[in-house]
């Protein structure tokens, strides 16, 4: 008999989705209630995950579903960011009138999909999780259906994502064909070093995953989708799928295919360098903040991949640290975007920030901190993220990667500085409204304080992540 205890959190979330859907159907005007209940159910899910000792290590359903330290940590990260995303965007969706009952439910189902992805130890289960999260994301991207940009971004994301899923599936079938199994453990046992088919399979899988984390050259969708989607969906796009996809990246590359690292390492290095440089250079000309953060996130994924390309535990840990820190920086940035509201309208261009520091000193200070942190200037948390990555990279004597990465941070610093220049050096414009809901304020305050004061006591995060040992 399979012990279902360990997947109570997923089951709970699925049940919550169904119940919320029923409430939504039978109770009129219940969107606000459902929104809050979704936040509550995420909290419940978090409690269920924390209920088990974090170092549980079990495999369920014929070894296709794995619960270990990595998956537990990533799930906690995922749910936490889901809670923050929902908390910070509640007012936004009311104002741009997308506060329908489906909105939080789609987010929850996407989260379930990601949780399945994170725990998957089997190609088929992984694909199911991926599609569950993707389908919800297609709808979410075009949720503001009266807006032409939003519809366009939904369609664009759907077409490109379907293509990448196709490639991914093709890769899975190749791997199945050449190794005789879809289970990660079995693949790693049956692996044949010289098989070209297997290499092709890995390349296709990497392609599909690189699409999900928007690494160059599979990044084309990101700027359009980030810009077109409602901001509340963009923040979701920017954080959660990346956590899930990065976990799968780690699981696939480091469990079945660690033995043939020389086959995929160079691909990851290329993806990493291309993303870092492209993200830095392409963002320079942007005027829209959401578009800019899309390019910046492409660059940041390049750094996370640099950690992955090392093939060591330290590299994995540094990537995970990077994504954990990146999450808070992005959260803080989007919280600031949510605060740029005047007369029921949201502003998202760089020039709208002009002279912000005169009327909104605290908000500007938060943005200043976030932007310098994204640029990786010490002593802010963004510096530590990069520091850990490059520590892992240099340990493997990959100096070229480290130097290119650090040079691209200098290029990237330019466009972050440009925003700071607009905020602090340019003449002031009209004021923005100051009444924000408490969830948004808490999210911003929490993430800003984390970014600013992390350097005082950096050990705990490292100690938690140090325990992740895949190899």
């Amino acid at each position: 008999m399979i012990n279902l205890n360990f997947i109570y959190s997923e089951i709970f979330l699925c049940l919550a989705i169904m119940i919320l859907l029923l409430i939504g159907v039978f109770k009129k005007n219940s969107s606000y209630l459902i929104y809050n209940l979704s936040i509550l159910s995420l909290f419940g899910c978090l409690a269920l995950i924390l209920n088990f000792p974090i170092n549980t290590n079990v495999e369920l359903f014929n070894n296709s579903f794995k619960i270990d330290y990595l998956s537990t940590y990533m799930k906690i990260l995922l749910i936490l960011s889901g809670i923050f995303v929902l908390l910070s965007s509640s007012k936004y969706i009311q104002i741009i009138k997308i506060n329908k009952i489906e909105y939080p439910i789609l987010i929850l189902s996407s989260v379930v999909g990601m949780m399945v992805m994170i725990s998957s130890n089997d190609l088929i289960l992984f694909y199911i999780g991926l599609e569950l999260q993707s389908l919800s994301l297609y709808v979410l991207a075009s949720f503001n259906r009266d807006n032409i940009l939003s519809s366009e971004s939904g369609l664009k994301y759907f077409v490109l994502s379907a293509l990448s899923s196709g490639l991914l599936l093709y890769g899975c079938s190749l791997i199945y064909g050449f190794s005789g199994s879809t289970n990660f453990n079995l693949i790693s046992e049956n692996i044949n070093q010289d098989s070209y088919g297997l290499t092709f399979g890995i390349v296709f899988i990497i392609t599909g995953l690189a699409f999900k984390i928007s690494a160059v050259p599979f990044h084309m969708w990101a700027p359009d989708v980030y810009e077109g989607s409602p901001t509340s969906v963009t923040i979701f796009f920017a954080i959660l799928p990346k956590i899930a996809a990065l976990t799968v990246f780690i699981r696939i590359l480091y469990v079945p295919f660690l033995n043939i690292i020389d086959q995929w390492q160079i691909i990851i290095i290329f993806l990493s360098i291309a993303s870092m440089l492209f993200g830095a250079i392409a963002a320079i000309g942007q005027k829209n903040l959401k578009r800019l953060i899309a390019y910046s996130s492409i660059g940041h994924m390049g750094y996370a991949l640099a950690g992955l390309s090392t093939g060591t535990n330290l590299g994995i840990q540094s990537s995970i640290t990077y994504i954990s820190i990146y999450l808070f920086m992005n959260l803080a940035f989007f919280c600031c975007l949510f605060m740029l509201r005047r007369d029921e309208k949201y502003f998202e261009n760089i020039e709208d920030l002009s002279g912000l520091s005169k009327n909104h000193p605290i908000l500007s200070f938060s943005l200043l901190i976030v932007l310098f942190s994204l640029a990786g200037i010490p002593p802010l948390v963004g510096f530590f993220a990069k520091f850990y990555i490059f520590t892992a990279v240099v340990e493997q004597s990959m100096y070229a990667l480290a130097i290119i990465g650090l040079l691209s941070t200098v290029i990237a610093a330019f466009y972050y500085l440009r925003i700071i220049k607009v905020i602090y050096f340019d003449p002031e414009k009209e004021r923005y409204e100051k009444n924000h809901n408490i969830g948004l304020k808490i999210s911003l305050a929490f993430s800003t304080i984390f970014i600013l004061f992390y350097f005082i006591y950096p050990s705990p995060l490292i100690e938690i992540i140090e325990k992740i040992n895949i190899i």
């Binding site: 520091s357 005169k358 000193p361 200070f365 310098f372 200037i377 010490p378 002593p379 510096f383 520091f387 490059f390 520590t391 240099v394 340990e395 100096y399 480290a402 130097i403 650090l406 040079l407 941070t409 200098v410 610093a413 330019f414 500085l417 700071i420 220049k421 602090y424 050096f425 350097f455 950096p458 050990s459 490292i462 100690e463």
Partner: protein
């Protein structure tokens, strides 16, 4: 030592900045927050003097050591000072209150933010000078970019955005290689603790590249020719207090870095790269002095003279003689005082005339006699006249250089003559001559605050000119130790070969 002196020195300005940041900014509280900032920075100065009093100059060991676990099993927070670093800490703590007094007339808007930036800057700079771990050092070294970027960008002159960007990107580009080098050192030796690295050394085959990586950062910050071009821009556009901080302390971080890291950690590579440093230093001394001669903007002239003076400093450091190194440190302290004083003096007349072009002045001696006297002292200090602190530094450096190479010293001596030329010519054009403009007649002489600031600067410049013993005594043993360490490293390396 039980009381954490150094951490208090670092933290005190930060706490002050925090208070000021969260205070309500109304125009009538401006005075209060200014006094608060002044009080905090002055308290820090007193604390640093007390530290000097407690400091034991008879040992080269690091003193007032504090060590705490920071990133577990990786990096420790470690601070401590020796005879080399203590003087820079006192200089920082001395200059900052003067900057805060000077904001009266130079900062017209957003005073609160300015004070926060200055105080944060102070604590970061003190951190640079007392950190004994490479990563901690890098943290403070780079962190200083943020407040300085804002100081130049918000309160600067017309081309402030360009200058702020140039400053930021130049220095960032310079230091990323240093970060790679620091991480590499960690993997080569298993530690980033400087005292540990001093004891065990770094393998000779790695030293050359590591030295170059550190050099790229320090050369930009010093600044050495040909990467000095950010300095004139940053100086000219920064507000007076910003220029003072830049010239007096920020540039010294690189000189300090050369002594502490390039020489201390990579002696073999330092020996190897001596010709490079000499050539760049000599070009800096001669070329930028000539450039300074041709400047029409006073601040730009002083900025170029800073590059030339820092050329002397790098030259002195890489002579590896007692005189050369002591002279370099003395020159850095002296230049910190003199350049701060010169920028403040330019600020004084800029306030009245709103121009920095030399041609617009002339004949100030008849309207501003007091000003002319103090400016005379500072000019002579910059020239290096015997009896001012500038002389001692340059003289010692030249002695050191003569020991090493006659040619180098001879060329560097030309720089001394050139510095007399441009400084005295500047003084002549500004202070003497006919009064060309009516506005000049209306200029008032120094007010009380200005007299206070400038006198406070005149005193140490003359005092240390006549009696350099306190400074030299403090540094002597530490430098002897450094040179000894350097020589044993070089010799053991020769024996190995």
């Amino acid at each position: 030592m039980d009381f954490p002196f150094l951490s208090s020195l670092i933290l005190l300005p930060l706490i002050g900045a925090l208070f000021i940041f969260f205070s309500k900014s109304k125009s009538n509280t401006y005075l209060t927050i200014k006094y608060l900032a002044l009080f905090v920075s002055f308290a820090n100065f007193i604390l640093s003097l007390y530290l000097w009093y407690l400091f034991d100059p008879s040992t080269a060991e690091f003193q007032f050591l504090e060590e705490r676990s920071w990133i577990k099993s990786f990096i420790n927070y470690k601070v401590g000072i020796d005879g080399i670093s203590i003087l820079f800490i006192i200089l920082t703590a001395f200059i900052t209150p003067l900057c805060i007094v000077s904001v009266n007339s130079t900062v017209k808007y957003r005073l609160k933010d300015f004070l926060v930036a200055i105080l944060v800057m102070e604590s970061l700079m003190i951190g640079v000078f007392c950190s004994l771990d490479l990563v901690i050092f890098y943290l403070f070294f780079e962190g200083g970019l943020i407040p300085m970027f804002l100081i130049i960008g918000i309160w600067g002159g017309e081309r402030r955005v360009y200058s702020a960007f140039k400053f930021f990107l130049y220095t960032l580009l310079g230091s990323v290689l240093m970060l790679v080098a620091i991480i590499s050192i960690y993997w080569f030796t298993g530690s980033t603790d400087i005292t540990y690295l001093y004891d065990f050394g770094i393998d000779e085959k790695y030293q050359y590249l590591l030295w170059l990586a550190f050099f790229s950062s320090f050369a930009v910050k010093t600044p050495m020719w040909p990467v000095h071009t950010w300095l004139p821009d940053a100086h000219v556009e920064a507000p007076t207090a910003g220029s003072v901080l830049l010239a007096a302390i920020l540039l010294k971080m690189a000189g300090y870095g050369f002594i502490r890291f390039s020489v201390g950690l990579f002696p073999v590579a330092s020996e190897y790269f001596i010709p490079l440093i000499y050539i760049l230093s000599l070009i800096a001394i001669i070329y930028t002095s000539l450039v300074a001669l041709m400047q029409e903007d006073m601040k730009k002239l002083i900025a170029y003279s800073s590059v030339a003076h820092m050329g002397f400093v790098t030259l002195g450091i890489f002579t590896f003689t007692q005189q050369g190194l002591e002279g370099s440190i003395f020159q850095m302290i002296s230049h910190g005082l003199v350049s701060a004083a010169l920028f403040l003096s330019v600020g004084v007349i800029y306030e009245r005339m709103h121009t920095r072009l030399i041609d617009n002045y002339g004949g100030l001696v008849s309207v501003m006699p007091k000003y002319s006297i103090v400016l005379m002292v500072f000019t002579l200090g910059a020239v290096g006249l015997p009896g001012t602190s500038g002389f001692i530094g340059e003289f010692l450096i030249l002695i050191g250089a003569f020991k090493k190479s006659f040619l180098v010293a001879a060329i560097a001596s030309i720089g001394v003559i050139l510095s007399a030329a441009y400084m005295l010519w500047l003084y002549k054009r500004v202070v003497f001559g006919e009064i060309k403009k009516d506005e000049i007649k209306k200029m008032s002489d120094l007010n009380r605050a200005e007299i206070f600031i400038l006198t406070v600067l005149v005193l140490p410049i003359i005092f240390f000119g006549f009696y350099p013993e306190p400074l030299l005594n403090t540094t002597e043993i530490s430098i002897e130790n450094l040179i000894e360490m350097y020589k044993t490293n070089i010799n053991s390396n020769l024996v190995e070969k």
